[in-house]
């Protein structure tokens, strides 16, 4: 081992209390007599604090997410949940197909909602030639695009008070001649490592039922919060449909785990998790006539083919943990 690394190792052992007796005495004497050495010890001590804080901050962010969800549930209550269902169905019956068709006209440009945001022009045709998913906005969902990209869409994305959306940039434009509003949410790929590691291990061990459970549990609303309110009993707590389990299973197996390990932020990543909230949708009623268009990584404009169009409907309320792309 190089001298520098040996010194780091020695300091590390001291800070972890692994050095005792005469060795410890000599270490401390060196600290007192050698300023440079004691500076190195101090640096390493600070880093240890920094590492712990990183972990605590992650924990605190998760706790805040859960807290916010509880708050939203309390606010939305029964009326909110009912409204989403009703509006979703109304939209499906009256507007869904026609607006989607209208928006397939090429050349419509989505402009930034906020002038301060610089956006590349984007043809709505290009967006729509990707994948279309119909999902249930009250459920966590995993979707798989035609190129095998998996995207987890937590239901919290549709809540009105979810933290940490600052990484996302939103563009919107009401398409002429259409009542549908088109929104594009550009977002950064967040870390999704823990789940991935578990999945990877399960897959390597060919423990598919465990993999399945792991995927379902990561997409199961029950894991986010537990409410005593009866109104939420309509949200299924687990998926029992065989079809669903097969799909999830297949989706998980299809992951390119090696790529995931290297760098989740890389544009080659094949699994993304939508995160944050859509800041402009803060009332259930605003779901009306809304199509949400997701561009998977705004730093990778060429990935436009993997854009997903999500219509907010409740059609698949009971069964859609995974929704496959619509066949074109």
């Amino acid at each position: 081992m190089r001298n520098e690394l040996e010194q780091i190792q020695r300091i590390d052992q001291y800070l972890l209390g692994e050095i005792q007796g005469p060795e410890k005495v000599s270490f401390e004497m060196e600290m007192h007599s050698n300023k440079e050495f004691s500076d190195q010890v101090e640096l390493q001590k600070q880093l240890m604090k920094g590492i712990k804080r990183t972990q605590w901050r992650e924990d605190a962010t998760k706790a805040y997410g859960k807290y916010q969800i509880k708050q939203s549930v309390a606010k939305l209550g029964m009326i909110g949940a009912g409204t989403i269902t009703l509006i979703g169905l109304t939209f499906l019956l009256t507007k869904g197909d026609s607006t989607t068709q209208e928006n397939k006209q090429p050349g419509t440009v989505i402009t930034p909602a906020n002038d301060s945001i610089k956006a590349d022009s984007l043809s709505i045709y290009d967006v729509l030639k990707g994948n279309t998913f119909v999902i249930n906005s009250s459920r966590d969902t995993v979707v798989e695009t035609t190129d095998g990209t998996l995207v987890e869409i937590p239901k919290t994305l549709f809540n009105d008070s979810i933290p940490d959306f600052r990484d996302s940039v939103v563009y919107k434009k009401q398409t002429e001649g259409s009542q549908a509003k088109i929104y594009t949410l550009h977002f950064y790929t967040p870390s999704y490592k823990d789940s991935l590691k578990k999945w990877k291990q399960s897959i390597q061990e060919k423990n598919y039922s465990k993999t399945f459970r792991s995927v379902v549990s990561s997409a199961n609303p029950k894991n986010y919060f537990k409410t005593s309110s009866k109104k939420h009993e309509t949200i299924p707590e687990r998926v029992s449909s065989k079809g669903d389990s097969d799909t999830i299973y297949k989706a998980a197996i299809g992951l390119n785990m090696e790529k995931m390990d290297d760098d989740l932020r890389s544009k080659n990543s094949k699994l993304y998790k939508l995160k944050g909230k859509i800041p402009f949708v803060n009332k259930a009623s605003r779901y009306k006539n809304t199509i949400l268009v997701f561009d998977i990584d705004n730093r990778n404009k060429s990935s436009i083919d993997t854009a997903i169009v999500i219509e907010i409907v409740d059609k698949l309320k009971q069964k859609s943990i995974i929704s496959k792309p619509n066949k074109k």
Binding site: Q9, L43, Q46, A60
Partner: protein, 185 residues
């Protein structure tokens, strides 16, 4: 959960339960910050920072509970927010209750230590994902080195250990640079 149970949970790294209980104190702190020229987002940041300070105090072993945890968090948040306003040059805009109370235990809090810790955290955060994960796994103490090596796909414990030292070496260099830039400004 009682305050003592929360402290024990944090001490044994069961932060999820502890934080969930502590977030009940968030509304009063948000109210205080919003009444003092802060946004909701400021309140979120400040409260999160106060949780981290609490963890840090508990783990450093010098935490003596002299008030309710809620009061402690309120005091720390208030202190942090005053400091932030000062930093933004808006100290004179404090309009309500920030000056009205005296919280000696918190006023003695060393902001310099806090800044140093933030800098170290920033350094860790800027490391590559793998280094960051390796270091967090190692120092969180929840997994043995052998398990970390398996989890992260290293061929042996030794190679995980070596990698850890290399990550620390890189982090030390970056932290030193950051400190020098900071103090030379």
């Amino acid at each position: 959960m009682t305050d003592q149970e929360i402290i024990e949970a944090i001490r044994s790294n069961k932060n999820d339960k502890a934080f969930a209980a502590l977030y009940k104190n968030f509304p009063s702190i948000r109210k205080m910050i919003r009444a003092n020229n802060g946004l909701k987002e400021d309140a979120e940041d400040v409260f999160q920072e106060s949780l981290i300070i609490l963890c840090s105090k508990i783990h450093e072993g010098d935490f003596i509970l002299t008030s309710k945890l809620g009061t402690f968090l309120y005091s720390v948040s208030r202190y942090l927010w005053m400091d932030e306003l000062k930093r933004r040059g808006r100290r004179n805009e404090i309009v309500s209750d920030l000056n009205a109370f005296n919280y000696p235990s918190v006023d003695e809090m060393s902001m310099e230590e806090e800044y140093k810790a933030r800098m170290a955290e920033k350094t860790i955060d800027a490391l590559g994902e793998r280094c960051k994960e390796l270091l967090v796994l190692f120092y969180s103490g929840t997994l043995k080195l052998r398990d970390i090596a398996v989890k992260m796909g290293y061929t042996s414990e030794n190679s995980a250990k070596n990698q850890k030292y290399k990550c620390l070496e890189m982090a030390k260099k970056q932290l030193k640079d950051l400190q020098q830039t900071q103090y030379s400004n």
